[in-house]
């Protein structure tokens, strides 16, 4: 049984159980996402993928809301775009990563979405999250100052790697992805796995930098 849905003014067909995000993707409509990942269970936490559904008091998360027959969806209305901007701005406001020093650089999904939504320096003044760099493990480096609590690493570890290394601790603004009793990551089970690293949208998880290898090429000399 096909469901008839109006997506940005166009009638499209969808399947029961399909999410708004899946329907949009199938029809070539690009909705930004952060906590969502096709290989992981939905979470709905970041709220970047919100869309407008006519008749709904609030915007709805497209990554977890199933379509319904007769639904009228706007994925890029002014209200939606403004909300997405504010959400990304909020994430940037407490994020203390410095883009020009970050290994993730142009690969960073947060940075990419911020650019697409035209979000510059956040207007919000809020304390930043500062945590010490965790570089004790030779296999994985963790810099939680760059973490945006999308929990993709937690789900990747639980659902894909089946290791249960990460968990969420504390509450509210202080919530944090922890290992055991909130210790720097250096566990037996973490060796050689690395499954979570590519799931991280920012530079919070990375492969430790190899500093001992010889770099070929000329030293950088600046001449005037």
């Amino acid at each position: 049984m096909a469901l008839l849905v109006t997506l940005n003014g166009t009638q499209v067909r969808g399947r029961p159980g399909q999410t708004i995000l899946e329907l949009a993707q199938e029809n070539g409509v690009d909705i930004p996402t952060l906590c969502h990942h096709a290989d992981l269970s939905p979470l709905g936490a970041c709220r970047v993928c919100v869309v407008e559904v006519e008749g709904s008091r609030t915007l709805v998360g497209s990554c977890h809301t199933p379509i319904a027959d007769g639904m009228v969806i706007h994925t890029h209305s002014p209200k939606v775009l403004e909300s997405r901007r504010v959400i990304v701005e909020l994430l940037l406001a407490s994020h203390s990563g410095v883009c020009y020093m970050c290994d993730k650089a142009n690969m960073c999904e947060l940075r990419k979405i911020a650019a697409e939504l035209d979000v510059g320096l956040p207007r919000f003044q809020v304390r930043k999250h500062y945590y010490p760099l965790e570089d004790v493990s030779p296999y994985i480096a963790r810099d939680l100052t760059k973490c945006i609590m999308c929990r993709r690493c937690v789900r990747a570890c639980n659902e894909v790697a089946k290791h249960d290394v990460f968990a969420i601790a504390y509450r509210g603004f202080d919530s944090k992805i922890v290992v055991d009793f909130d210790q720097p990551i250096d566990k037996e089970v973490c060796r050689d796995c690395g499954v979570c690293i590519p799931f991280c949208p920012t530079g919070a998880l990375s492969q430790p930098r190899e500093t001992k290898t010889e770099k070929k090429g000329k030293p950088l000399v600046v001449t005037s």
């Binding site: 915007l59 406001a93 509450r171 603004f173």
Partner: protein, 398 residues
């Protein structure tokens, strides 16, 4: 309209320790009546009464029951939300302290109506002192044979306001962090452990025996078009007589605040606790109803000596501390609001602050995952509407 004790009719009358005194006050007659009816008739009666949830959201109770009753599966749950955490609310405590039996009877009727064999009462940690009383009441009801169809277990919270939010409450009972879930699915379809579940507030369930015994028609004679019955209010703050008062819905706020609680020189009233409305004295004649203002029944009165920026700042501090932290707008937004209000409190507001607060509030209301985050900016929005001058005075002039 004077006080009317419907929900509270037994409070101060019966002995909460002794079921005999409850039975003497028509106790468990509603359950006996309900058990002789078909469960659909029970639900229809509750639907016809137009009873709406008393925990703040105001969802039609009978409809909730009907969804759960029609949902597939043999395993269903009733949860009584006794996690009364909204700032300034203590009416459920008062009901639990004085008449635990009416609540148990309400739960027993709910269990029969939706076909649940198990019910939980989720009691906030702060009310641990009521645990023995409640368990004693359950034991006595069981001994008298009123709970043959339903097992009632009390689960205690451990200090988290957000667990009063139904999805966080269920996660907490499941032994998890009290974080909210996205919806749909809604609890009547997929709730506790993924099974059909109804979650009702203490006061809502206490209304049930009255409705079943006296009929929906009797209940519908009280209140307004969209707000039937009575409401139990907790009044505190700058009043001479703080306490619990029950009024017919639609009664004017003035009656509660000035006449009953004896407030003087009122500047503003916060209705519904931290996530509630902040209204100025000019609106003191507002009707207390779902159509107008209501919430879970917390009425906090502030006199003319109080500072709005301070009130809103303290409120945001509470909400930031109690945010579960799952979704971005609530986790980050409440924190931004705390910092902004603090700055304003010091008289160091920036020119852009008001506009930024308004834009942030809009997004939090539209995008947060649960009622807490969606309602968190209300104190800011309301106070900006009614007391904008106090914000403007705190903006640094340079």
């Amino acid at each position: 309209m004077p006080e009317k004790r419907v929900v509270l009719k037994n409070c101060g009358v019966i002995d909460p320790q002794d079921i005999a005194s409850y039975l003497a006050a028509d106790g468990f007659k509603a359950l006996e009546k309900a058990l002789k009816l078909h469960l659909k008739q029970v639900i229809d009666e509750v639907k016809a009464s137009e009873l709406r949830g008393r925990g703040g959201a105001g969802f039609p109770c009978g409809l909730k029951w009907e969804f759960a009753s029609k949902a597939q599966g043999n395993e269903k749950y009733v949860i009584c939300n006794a996690d009364e955490g909204e700032v300034g609310t203590f009416k459920d405590r008062y009901i639990l302290e004085n008449d635990p039996f009416s609540l148990i009877e309400g739960i027993a009727i709910a269990g029969y109506a939706i076909g649940a064999k198990k019910a939980y009462i989720y009691l906030r940690a702060e009310y641990h002192f009521l645990l023995d009383l409640l368990q004693n009441a359950i034991a006595q009801a069981k001994k008298k044979g009123f709970l043959g169809h339903l097992d009632i277990e009390v689960r205690e919270g451990a200090g988290a306001y957000v667990c009063g939010e139904e999805s966080a409450l269920m996660d907490s009972i499941e032994g998890k962090r009290g974080e909210v879930r996205y919806r749909p699915p809604f609890p009547p379809t997929s709730g506790l452990w993924g099974k059909p579940t109804i979650i009702n507030n203490v006061e809502t369930l206490t209304n049930i025996p009255r409705i079943i015994l006296n009929g929906a028609e009797w209940f519908g004679k009280m209140g307004t078009e969209k707000s039937k019955g009575t409401k139990v209010f907790s009044v505190s703050g700058d009043v001479a007589k703080p306490g619990v008062y029950e009024l017919v819905l639609g009664s004017p706020l003035r009656e509660l605040v000035e006449k009953l609680a004896k407030a003087e020189k009122v500047k503003t009233v916060q209705i519904g606790g931290a996530t509630g409305r902040i209204i100025p004295y000019a609106m003191i004649d507002a009707s207390l109803s779902f159509e107008s203002v209501l919430g879970a029944g917390a009425i906090t009165v502030f006199d003319e000596s109080r500072d709005i920026i301070d009130i809103v700042g303290k409120t945001m501090e509470f909400l930031a501390e109690e945010s579960c932290g799952k979704c971005t707008p609530c986790r980050e937004g409440t924190e931004v609001m705390v910092e902004t209000m603090e700055r304003l409190g010091r008289g160091e507001g920036l020119k852009k602050d008001i506009k930024v607060l308004e834009e942030l509030a809009e997004t939090m209301m539209l995008c947060s995952m649960c009622g807490l985050g969606q309602a968190a900016p209300i104190p800011v929005v309301d106070s900006l509407e009614h007391f904008r001058g106090e914000y403007e005075n705190r903006i640094r002039q340079s």
